[in-house]
Symmetry: D2
Subunit: 337 residues, 4 copies
C-alpha cells in the first residue's frame, strides 16, 4: 500500500539510472512504461473543475530540443476559476459565454491580474542547465530540481541543430545573427560534441562510478558527487518540477516566448503556450492579443500616433523622440524608419 | 453554454444581495441551494491525484464564529506529491508507506520546505474585517476579496459570545485575561450590537439604496459605495477566495492556530487544521509534532538542558539566561520558574 | 547609550498617547518636536549613494487627507544604482549622462524590471483603515503596522471634504459620479461625523480607559483592546512603516496614482510620486512616460492604428473589435466613439 | 556630469575585459584601482542611520575560494531600525540598551520576523556557477547577474584546495566523507584543471574572439556568445549584485552557513555572517543563539527531555521515536545513541 490514492500508479517520476537506453524525447524505456501505466489507469471521480483537453495530455512528455521535454503533472482551475474570482471582487454579472470572454479580456487589458492567480499548473521539465539558469530567474514559482549532490547526472547534453548555429548579432548586442555556413558550422558542432563527451569522461573518472553503480577502479575512493559535477558544462540536462500560477506563467511566457528570448528557452515557452491554450483557451487568447502581439506605447508615442492619424508627416526630428525610441515606435507601427 | 466544463454547475460563488434570509453558517438559502446542486452533480473523471476525504467536503461551508465559514473550493496534490517532489531532488528511495511517512517527517524536521509547496488549496472564507486585516499579512497567498467599491455589504457583523468577552491581559501586553462578568458583559454586548446596527443604518442612509436595489428617497442621489462603506466597523463581515500552497499554509497555521493568536482568527485556523488533516494526513501529523507542539530551543538553552539531564540543579542565576528567557525555557520543559 | 548610531536621535517614531493635542498633518506636538530634533542633528558621513534632494525632506511629514501623512524614513540607491545593475547584466557602456537616461528608458520600455529593484525606500504612513486595506494588497513590500491589540487607537477619523462627496458613478460600476449638492452633502458629512464620534465613545466605554491611561469606572474591568477595537469604523486612521523596492513601487503607483483609483488612496500615491521624482528623477520620468501616460495597445488594436495612419476610415463594425474594446482604443487615440 | 551624486566615483562595478591581469581575490588591477578611488572619495553627509563598522569595509572585496569575493555595496537600517519597527507594532517601550537587546531576542525567539525585514543590504558577489545555482534558489532577493549572452566570461574557474577533495559520504547520501589521498587527489586536481582549461580553449575557438576583442581567424564569423558559453563547466565564475532584507538573509544563512551545506557555498555564507555581525550586532547574536546553535525539538521530543530531566533512563525503544528521530534527538542533547 502506498500513500498515494488507491489504484493511482506513479506518473513517471524521474528515475535516472534505471536504464541507459534512450528513447525519443529524453525519456527512458522504463520511464515511458511507467507513464503509459499511469495514463492507462482508470480515472478517478472528482468534484473539481476538470479540463478534458488537458486530461488528454496529462503526464505525456512533449519533446523539446534534442533530449528535453515538458510534461503536465497536475493542474487546478480553468477559465471559469478566473471568472469566478473576478466576480467575487466585482459582484454579480451575466452568465453567458460572451460575457466570460469579455470579462477575461477586460481583466487582461487593465492588468487586473489577481483572478489569473487562481489557476495553478505543475510541469515536469527536462532542460539544459544554461536554460535552467535563465528560467529560474522567475522567482514566483515553486521548484524541486534533480540534485547532482545526491545523484549522478545522465550522459545527455544539448547540441544545437545546424540551423541554430548562428554568429553574434551586429544589430543587437545580445542574440544571434546569420547562421554559420559550411566548415565553420561543422567544426563548431564537432567542438561542442567533443568537449561535452570529454567532460563526461572526466566526470565518470572523478566519480569512479557509473550510473548503474558499477565502481571503476576498486583501489580508488572516487570524488564526492557534489564536487565531481562541477566539470560538466551547462549544456548538460537537468530536470525539475515547476509549479506556477497562470498570472505568473503569463509573465514568464511574455518574456520567454518573445522574439528576443534565446531560441533554446523560447522553444520550451512555445510548448507551454500550446498547453495553456488547451487549459484556459479564453485567457490564453486574451494574453496573446494583449501581451504577445500588442505593444506598450509611451505617452509621447501616443501623441505622435494621433498626429499621424490626423494626416501629419511626422519625422524623427519633429517627433521629439530619440533615434532609438523613434525606431522602435516605427517598428510597432510597421513603418520604415 | 458556459466556459466551465460541461455539466459542472457553479459551486456556490458569493451572490450577495440575492436573498437577505440568513441560514446557519452565514450562507443564504439561495447559496445553500447552489452548493447542494454543485455537490449533487455527477463527478467528473480525472487522472490527477485525488483525495476522497477532501472530495467529501468540497464546497461545503464549515461554520466559524457567528456568521463566518470556510469552504474548500479546489485542491491540487496530496502527501504523494510532497514525496514525489522530494524524490526528484534526493533521488530514488524505497517505496513502502513507512518510508513516505519518515521522508515527510525528515523534510519537516530539517525545514526542507520546497516539497510542501507542491500542494495547493483554495478556500472561500467569510470573516470579520478585523480578522481579514490580520490574515492578509500573510503575503504568499493569492486573494480575491468581495469589493465594497462595487457592491453593497450585507448587514452581518460579529458579536462575541459571552465566554469570549475578556478583559485586557495583565501578564501579556497583547491578548485577553479573565472573562467579564454580569452587568459589564451585558453592557459590552449591548454596546457592540447597538453601535454595529446604527452604523449599518447610517450606511444605508448614505447609500440611499438597500441590497435589493430599492432606492430610499427618490429626491436624493446617494453617496458612492466606496465612500459610504467607511462608516462600517471592522466587525462587519467580508469574504474572499484565498489560495495558498501547503508550506505557506503551515506557516500561517503555526502562527494563527497558536495559543497566542487572537481567538477570532484562531477558530478559522483550527477549522483549516481539520481540513489539512483530511487532505495530507502524513504532512499534517509531521507539522503538528514539529511545528505546533514542539519548540525552538536556543543554543544556550540546549546547554542548560544537557546540564539538567546530567543531574545538575540549574537556577536562573546559574543559567546565564535573562529572567524572561529562563521563564520561557522552563515553560517549554513544563517546570516551575 | 542606545543601539542606534551615536548622536542619532530618534526620527519621530510614532508615540501615540503621549499627547492628545493635534497639530496640522496628523502629527502631535511631541512628535513634531522629535522630528525637528532628528532633522537638526548633525548629519553623519557615509560612502553610500546619497540624494541631497531626498535628504532635504527626510523624516518630514507630508500631509495627506485630513489627518494623514507620508514621511520618508530611509532610502537606498538612486538612478545610478539602476544603471549600475543594468550594466553588470549588459556589460560595459558609455558613461555620459545621456546614456544613463536612455539606458533607463530602454529598461522601462522593455520591462527589464530587475535593475529598478536595486533601489529601496521606507515610508512612515498614516492613513484611514479602508485605504490601508487597498494598499496592503500589494504584497511585495515589508510592513509593520501599529497594533490595536497592544495599543489604543487615537480619536482620529477621516471625513471627506465636500468636493469629494460624490454619488455612485453610472458609467462605471466602481467609482464616483457627480458631487452631492446642498442638503444631501451636509447630511452626509454630519452622518459620517456623528457615527464616527459615537463609535469612539463606545470604544472608550468598552476599554474603560483613555489614551492617557486614565481608568474610567474603577468598578469595571474593561474589555481587551483586541476586542474593543472592532467597533471602530474603517475611516479611523492607522499607521505603518512600509518598505518597498522601486520596481514594485512603480507597480503600486501605476495602479494607485491612476485616474481609476479611489481618490483617498490616489492622494497618497501622488504624494509618493513627488518623492520619487526627487529621489530617482530619470527613472521617474521614464515611468511617467511609459507607464502613467502611455497605453498598452493590443495586437488587433495595432492593426487598426496602422489602417488609420494609412488613411482608412475605420469604424467599430469594420474594426472587428467589441464595442467596449473599440471605445477604449478610441479613448487612447483621443478620438470620439 | 553624471547622474550619480556629485563627487561620487563608481564603486568598482564589474568591468570584465578591461584587464586580464589577475590580482588576489579575483579582482583585476583596474577594478582594484576603481575601488580604491571610490573608498578614498570624501564621504557625503546623510541623515540616515549609519553604521561606522560597515562603512569601514564598504566596497572592499572580501576574498572567498580561489577567485571569488563578497563586497558590500549599500545598506539600509541597523539594529535600531528593527527596534523601531517592532515598537510601531507593539507600542511604547523603554529605551535602554538592555531593552533593545531583549526586544530583538524576543522577536527572534518568537519568529516575529517582519521587523527584521526593515534592514536591507546589497552585495556584489563573484562565485562559481554551481554555487550560484544553489544560491539562486532563495527567491526572496533581488539579483542582477553578469550576462554571458552580452559579454565574454573571464578565464577563471574554481579548483578545490586538496583539503576539500573528499569522497562521497557513506553516512549521508549527500555530502562528503574522507579526504582523498596521494595520487588520487593529484589526479583529480589535474583532471579538473585540464578539463576546465580545454573548455575555455573551445569557448574561445567557438567565439573566434578573446576578451580584449581581438578576432581570431578573420575568415570565420564566430559563434554567438549565448551559444558558445554552453561549453563552460559550472566551476567557471560568474558574478552578480544580490540585494536582500535581513530576515530573508538570516533564512539564507541558517541553511547555507549550516554544517550540512556544501563547503563551497558555506564559505560565502560565513563571510556574510561576519559582515552581518558588524552591521546589526544585536540581531546577529540573537540569530546565532536561536537559529544557528539552537535546535527545533518536536512535541514528542520535549516529552522525552522532560522524562530524562526527571531522572528516567529513556531508550529508543521506550521513547516511541523512530531510530532516526531518536538518533537526531540524542545528537541535539550531546548524548551517545
Amino acid at each position: 500500500m502506498t500513500v498515494q490514492a488507491p489504484s493511482r500508479p506513479s506518473s513517471g517520476a524521474p528515475t535516472q539510472g534505471v536504464s541507459a537506453e534512450r528513447t525519443p524525447g529524453g525519456v527512458t524505456a522504463a520511464q515511458r512504461a511507467e507513464i503509459e501505466t499511469a495514463r492507462a489507469a482508470p480515472p478517478l471521480p472528482t468534484r473539481r473543475p476538470t479540463v478534458p483537453a488537458l486530461e488528454e495530455i496529462l503526464f505525456q512528455p512533449l519533446p523539446v530540443l534534442d533530449h528535453g521535454f515538458v510534461r503536465v503533472i497536475d493542474y487546478f482551475g480553468d477559465d471559469g476559476a478566473v471568472v469566478q474570482a473576478a466576480r467575487v471582487s466585482y459582484g454579480k454579472g451575466t452568465k453567458k459565454v460572451s460575457d466570460d470572454r469579455n470579462l477575461i479580456r477586460y481583466l487582461m487589458r487593465h492588468r487586473h491580474t489577481t483572478p489569473f492567480e487562481m489557476c495553478e499548473i505543475k510541469f515536469h521539465v527536462k532542460l539544459p542547465i544554461f536554460v535552467a539558469r535563465q528560467w529560474i530567474r522567475h522567482r514566483t514559482a515553486n521548484v524541486n530540481e534533480y540534485s547532482a549532490r545526491y545523484s549522478i547526472l545522465d550522459r545527455e547534453f544539448y547540441v544545437p541543430v545546424p540551423a541554430q548555429l548562428a554568429k553574434q548579432s551586429q544589430a543587437n548586442r545580445q542574440g544571434r545573427g546569420e547562421v554559420l555556413q559550411g566548415a565553420e558550422a561543422e567544426h563548431a558542432l564537432a567542438a561542442i560534441e567533443s568537449l561535452s563527451a570529454e567532460a563526461y569522461a572526466t566526470y565518470e573518472r572523478l566519480l569512479n562510478e557509473d550510473m548503474q553503480g558499477n565502481v571503476g577502479d576498486p583501489a580508488r575512493s572516487g570524488l564526492a558527487r557534489e564536487l565531481a559535477r562541477m566539470v560538466l558544462p551547462t549544456n548538460y540536462y537537468t530536470q525539475w518540477y515547476w509549479k506556477i500560477d497562470l498570472n505568473n506563467l503569463f509573465h514568464f511566457l511574455s518574456l520567454r516566448a518573445d522574439a528576443h528570448a534565446q531560441h533554446e528557452i523560447r522553444v520550451y515557452a512555445e510548448t507551454i503556450c500550446g498547453i495553456v491554450e488547451k487549459w484556459c483557451p479564453l485567457a490564453y487568447q486574451a494574453f496573446r492579443d494583449y501581451r504577445m502581439t500588442g505593444a506598450a506605447v509611451s505617452g509621447p508615442g501616443l501623441v505622435i500616433i494621433r498626429r499621424m492619424i490626423a494626416g501629419e508627416q511626422v519625422t524623427q526630428e519633429s517627433s521629439g523622440l530619440s533615434k532609438r525610441e523613434w525606431a522602435e515606435l516605427m517598428a510597432v507601427l510597421g513603418r520604415p524608419v
